[in-house]
Structure formats: structure tokens, C-alpha cells
Symmetry: D2
Subunit: 143 residues, 4 copies
């Protein structure tokens, strides 16, 4: 599947910079191409839950960014249909990465798996997302 | 199933007040008893995604609070194992509620369904969470 | 949402009678209208697993029939995208029913929840299915 | 994690031979060790659905066998808690394999991913299962 020339990392960083919630969580997109993407967050006090480990909602939001970016590398606007997250071990790292890869994609539906890993490479949670692919190509963001 | 006398709304509000991430998202617990719970958030600009609707990560975090509180009404500490969220329609409301109810619960595992509704009562997303129940009773939070 | 006049129980029974696997499992469609459907199976020795309770694969197949029939009541061909089943208690009943209801439906995607209940009305498993709706109307099955 | 000496392929084949439903579907366990397992089925007319492709219920049952066998390689009895299947492409192969691998496992909960592939190696569906691990070691099956 050909990605449009627009769907590169620079474009996608600008595209997802409009995602105010992810931005306010401190989440940053660092890689995106050909069905894969990586997002990163540096863990702060405000990301923790009541028992002092990284909150599931922050993990979900981090994974969702990688999922969305990976889906958009194919050059079309898509929307999330459903997602599942499974927690594997307590997140205590200083930096967490979400690494998304394409599992399946047809004209309308695309599935991505996202591994959430800490700075030692240990997987702390696994996410899977299903996206619905629209006809709309990625928009022109101007200069 | 008997809830411990400790697992009431006032206790659970104090217990979940320690959840820094949910707190920083503006999420508040407003009801919790006998396997049910409700959490609420007033939608602000910072909760939106790149296309101007409520971010899936905020919806997930809201649902997760109601799920966790409902699970803790039974008087034992529990941890989330996995959760699924399905998006039904774009969230454009001013106030969103997450309403959790118990689907099944045995000594070790408990499943909760959470409806995410806007102020008109319309369901915008459906969440399901599985919790692992520990032996630990709810802690003493002091005065 | 208008169901086509074709999508009634008699039509859907004939349509799903072509489902050889469900048929060979002894599964029968008994109700289908307006986004709901019920399928039934009388439990036999051959439906059990190694520990003498109803096999998860049979429960899944029963739920899948109710899900598919409910989705087809809307008058369009649809295909299953993904499904989740959660086991609540051991199935030991003599007759099991799968009761599907519509959770959400738009032009392309539709979600159904299916309760699997025994003859006492107890829920033994919960199923959720996502269908992709095609443009194709239900076919003409002739006389 | 040490597997008990009992949890080898010969033992597990005898253990799962008691699974009448899988047996009646023609499903066979062909590999199992150290958190992985493979089950196989030769596709027959009776495995198809109404549109002539492999029935989701058969795919699910095939994946469930590989999942259960992989979970039991660790030497303890376990039971399935929940499973999700996502359909990737229509199954039209003559022989289908389910290949399970361990994603995460702690003392009580274990997650397995299962790829369903046809004889050309193409993935037609992806399954994920969560098992609850009991204290019980695998039983003595006698001679």
C-alpha cells in the first residue's frame, strides 16, 4: 500500500500537535512510517494513580497516539472504533514508549498492535486498536 | 456479597483522591455503592483531540475511575487486568458521566460494564473492565 | 432504522440454514427482529470440554449466530470484524440461549451484545461482536 | 518458569483428548512446550458458514485449543477467563493452524496470543486469550 507523500513524520507531528489532550499529557510522537509509529512520554508525578504506579489512562492515551499515527501513515483520515489494553506489569519506569505496528488493513478497517515498553525494553502493557478508514485524504495543513 | 463498612462513598472518594492522574484530568467520583459507581467530568478545551471531539484517552480515564470505584465497593483492593472501549458517537457534550455496573464477580475476578453518557443521556462509548481481586481489605486511611 | 421487508424471521431462518457449521452443532435461530435475535442449543455430550462443562467454542458459535442474525435484521449483508467472549460461570444447563441486542449502529459499523443464559435464566457468558455493514441488500433466496 | 515434567506433548495430547467438542470438530493438538502450542484442523464442508468460508466458531475453537494447551505447558490447571478474535481475511485454505505463544504470565493470570494461519502461512485471524491459573497441578491420567 502506497503512503501518500504527505504522510511523513513531519506532517504527522504537525497533524497530531492539534491533539490537545495528548499534548497536555506530555506525549510526543517520535516516529511514524509505513504502518508503524512510536510515541514517548517522560513520566511525572501527575501521571501516577493512587498506588504510585503509572495510570492506565495515561498508558492508554500514549498507546492511542502511536495507534492513530501508525494508521495515518497510509495517507487517509481514520477514526478509532475500539481498543483493548491488557496490563502486564506495573509501570515504574522514567520514560515509556508506545510502539505501534500494523496487524491487518483493508480498504475500510485496520488493526494495530501497540507494545508499551519502559526504558529497559520491558513490556508493561499491550494494546490493540481497530480503526475505520475514511475516504478523506490527509488535509492540507498549509505552511 | 457484603461490602465492608469501609467501602462507602466518603471512604472511596478519599481513597481515589490519591489518583493524581484522574484528579489532574478533572475527573470526580460522585456515586459508589454495591457494585456500581459514577464518575463525572466537565469537558474543557484541554480534553479534546485533533478533530475537536473528546479524546478517547479522557473517555477511557473517566470510565476507568467508575470501574475501579465500583470494584472497590466490595471491600477488597483490586487491580485492573484488561479493559476494552468501543466508541459509539462523537463526544461533544459539556459534561460526561461514566456509569459502572457489576456484570460478574467471583472470589478472584470481577467484570464491570461502564456506559459513557453525555448530559442528554446519550451513550457515546461503552467500556468493559476486568479486575483481579486481592486478599487485601481496603486500607485504613486514618482520620 | 427501517428493516427491509425481507429481514424477517422466516427469511433469516432460511438464510442462516446455509450456515453448515452452526447447523452441525445443533444451533437453531428462534427469534430475530429489529436488531435483536435469539439462538438456542440443546446441550449434548459432544458439546462438552475436557472437564465436563460446555465448551467455550460452542458458546462462541451459539452467540455468533444470534449476533449475525440480529445484525441482518436491518436488511443488509454484514460480516463480523471481531468478537469478545467473557466466561462468567460454568455452563451445566440442558438448554442454552444466546440473546443478542443492538448496542450501536451506524452506516458501516454495528455492535451487538449477546447474553448466554441457561434454562434458569442465569447468565453464563457475555459476548460482544462488531460487524461491518456492506452495501449489499439481503439476497433473494427464491421460493 | 519451570514446567512440570508432566506437561509434555504426550501428556497434553491425552489430557486434551478428553475435550469432546474440539475432537468432534476434527481439531488436533500437534505441538506444546514452554508456553507455546499449535493445533491443526483439515477443513471440511461441515466447517463452513453460510457464505462458504470457514466459520468463525470453528476458528475460535481451533485457537482456543492452542491457547489452552499453551497455558497448560506450565504444569498447572487453568481456565479461560475471556478471549477476543479479530478476523483478518476470509479463510479458504485446506488446512488451518493455530499457533499460540505466551504474552505475559504471573502466578494467577496468563495471556496468550494465537495466530490463525492457512497452509500458505497467511494470517487469517488473530486471537487473544486470558487464563486464570489454579493451584491444582496437572492430574495423574494413569497409564
Amino acid at each position: 500500500m502506497m503512503a501518500s507523500s504527505r504522510a511523513n513524520l513531519e506532517f504527522l507531528k504537525r497533524y497530531f500537535a492539534r491533539d490537545v489532550f495528548a499534548e497536555s499529557c506530555g506525549i510526543e510522537l517520535v516516529e511514524a512510517s509505513n504502518g508503524t509509529a512510536t510515541a514517548v512520554v517522560r513520566i511525572e508525578e501527575r501521571h501516577l494513580n493512587g498506588i504510585g504506579i503509572v495510570h492506565g489512562g495515561l498508558l492508554f492515551t500514549l498507546a492511542d497516539m502511536a495507534f492513530a499515527a501508525a494508521a495515518h501513515t497510509r495517507g487517509h483520515v481514520s477514526v478509532s472504533v475500539s481498543s483493548t489494553i491488557s496490563y502486564i506489569k506495573a509501570g515504574r519506569g522514567k520514560t515509556l514508549l508506545a510502539k505501534a505496528r500494523e496487524i491487518a488493513r483493508n480498504r475500510r478497517l485496520a488493526t494495530y498492535a501497540v507494545d508499551l515498553v519502559d526504558e529497559t525494553g520491558e513490556v508493561i502493557a499491550a494494546f490493540q486498536g481497530l480503526a475505520y478508514v475514511k475516504n478523506d485524504p490527509l488535509p492540507d495543513l498549509g505552511e
